[in-house]
């Protein structure tokens, strides 16, 4: 039987997109919360961590209700939302660890905030950010709980964790059946 690689490719694409979404949302948020104090900043901080305690089924339900149809894009968004707290917390710690002295030095030397971020903060904190991206990607890649509900309705899209689950189920089923059949 030829090996079907499509669940792997699809999972990679799916996890990559979810990570990208999480980065786009969490990186500015982490920057904002480590660099500025403003009214409501603590509330925002709490909101970013909220998905940690949100049951996947609840989120999926609302997203599906909002989208109105089953689509693998919904699964990407669900995964991004679940990746967000993890990515956000790691990014935040990484950005907070970058010495403000370097950033202030850059500002004093005439650099604007955009330049400070890309030329000073990012190169100094990239290890932490890279670790956060890896962790977020891994989280999205192996995520099963939230996506199973969505993916089970999408025939074309079979994700690797779900394929693995299906294979495990078949394997276990065979073992059980064999054990039950008398010799």
């Amino acid at each position: 039987m030829p090996l079907d690689w499509s669940p792997l490719w699809f999972s990679l694409r799916y996890a990559g997109l979810a990570t990208l979404l999480a980065i786009l949302a969490a990186l500015p948020l982490a920057w904002l919360l480590t660099r500025r104090r403003f009214p409501g900043s603590e509330l925002l901080d709490a909101l970013a961590n909220l998905p940690l305690v949100l049951p996947p089924a609840v989120l999926v339900y609302y997203l599906l209700a909002g989208a109105g149809q089953f689509s693998w894009h919904v699964a990407v968004v669900v995964s991004a939302v679940y990746t967000l707290p993890l990515f956000f917390r790691m990014t935040r710690a990484g950005l907070a660890a970058v010495d403000h002295g370097f950033e202030n030095a850059a500002r004093g030397l005439g650099a604007g905030e955009w330049r400070v971020f890309w030329i000073v903060t990012m190169p100094l904190g990239w290890r932490a950010l890279f670790a956060a991206v890896l962790a977020g990607f891994a989280r999205a890649f192996v995520d099963l709980g939230a996506t199973a509900i969505v993916a089970s309705h999408v025939q074309a899209a079979l994700l690797l964790p779900i394929a693995a689950l299906a294979l495990t189920a078949i394997y276990v089923g065979n073992r059980v059946r064999r054990a039950q059949v008398p010799a």
Binding site: G101, N104, A105, L109, G110, G112, L124
Partner: protein
């Protein structure tokens, strides 16, 4: 020329500084860094006004606050803050990239010029952690000056440096002072640095300026006991003026256990309670040979003698501290361990401070 007035946030100061080095002298919580941060724009004060040359950097009343990049105040941080991921050359290039109207060739020409001026040839292609610290120090100053700032803020980068580095650092700052006519604000907690470099100093404590003026004048005549303590003056005694004679230019001061003759004290009245202050190095001390103490000599019991690099510090009962040269100390009669000494207070060395 920088004019600063700040209020609130525990800092309450008003001063101005022209070209040359002005030292902000004070201890750990004196507010030195907070003042520098407010001028550089890293922290926003609640009230006040900061004017550099003719431009307003900050005005609390009309809520004007320029972002740091537009203030043209170069900041030399305590840990130098050379970007660790760039070579020294790129560090020098960094401020030029934000300058409008400076072409690529002009930038490289200026970097080259700075490398010449601060002798950074060996360091230029390396990253800061591979460069000897004295080169890093020079590179930090070069980077601060390359964007042609209007003001240089320096936050005691010499704290914790060894003696040789400190000498190098003083040399760099002297060069900057003599070759440019930038105003420099130098935060320091080292009085020697103030004397070596600064044309004037601000004595800071708890966010307030206690006294300002040339370092010599400040040390010679502290305005208060608090100021004298911050300057590290050891001999401070409460006293009462019991006689004043303008004709013979004398006065008589009664301390807790003895009387002293001093110079006439203009502006004081008989019966005033004051503080007497004497630099330890200006007291004379010799072992007591049993003779009757002369005028202004006080018999005191030696409690501790401490060796210092270039002198011996003698601490007597009653809180009197004297510093005498080593050879003077060695000259005392050997054998017997004489604890009784005579301490002489020369009248010109006596200074009188008002009660707080």
């Amino acid at each position: 020329m920088i004019q600063v007035r700040l209020a609130g946030d525990g800092v309450n100061v008003e001063f101005q500084a022209a070209s040359g080095i002005t030292a902000l002298f004070g201890g750990a919580e004196a507010g030195k860094t907070r003042i520098l941060d407010a001028i550089a724009g890293f922290a926003t004060p609640t009230q006040g006004r900061i004017i550099l040359d003719d431009g307003i950097l900050f005005d609390g009343a009309s809520s004007v606050s320029l972002p740091p990049r537009r203030r043209r105040c170069a900041y030399v941080a305590r840990h130098w803050a050379l970007f660790p991921h760039m070579t020294i050359h790129d560090n020098l290039l960094f401020p030029l990239a934000s300058l409008a109207g400076v072409g690529r060739r002009e930038r490289h020409r200026r970097v080259k010029e700075m490398i010449e001026r601060f002798a950074l040839h060996d360091a230029a292609p390396r990253r800061p952690h591979l460069v000897p610290p004295e080169d890093c120090l020079r590179a930090t100053v070069a980077r601060a000056l390359i964007g042609e700032p209007k003001l240089l803020l320096v936050d005691e980068p010499a704290a914790g440096l060894d003696v040789a580095m400190r000498a190098e650092w003083h040399k760099i700052l002297r060069t900057v002072r003599d070759e440019t006519n930038l105003p420099v604000l130098l935060a320091t907690r080292d009085l020697d640095t103030c004397f070596e470099l600064a044309g004037s100093m601000l004595l800071l404590n708890a966010g307030r300026i206690l006294q300002s003026g040339p370092p010599r004048a400040v040390l010679d005549q502290p305005v208060s006991v608090e100021a004298a303590r911050l300057l590290g003056i050891r001999n401070l005694f409460p006293a009462e003026i019991v006689a004043l004679d303008p004709g013979r230019n004398t006065s008589r001061l009664r301390l807790e256990n003895f009387d002293l003759n001093g110079p006439y004290l203009p502006g004081r009245l008989r019966g005033d309670r004051v503080w007497l202050c004497v630099e330890p190095g200006q007291l004379h001390a010799a072992p007591h040979d049993g003779s009757k103490p002369a005028a202004n000599q006080v018999a005191a019991r030696l409690e501790r003698a401490t060796e210092m690099p270039r002198a011996v510090r003698l601490e007597f009962a009653g809180g009197i501290v004297a510093e005498i040269a080593r050879w003077e100390f060695e000259r005392r009669p050997k054998g017997e361990d004489n604890k009784d000494w005579l301490v002489e207070f020369p009248p010109p060395a006596l200074r009188v401070l008002g009660c707080p």
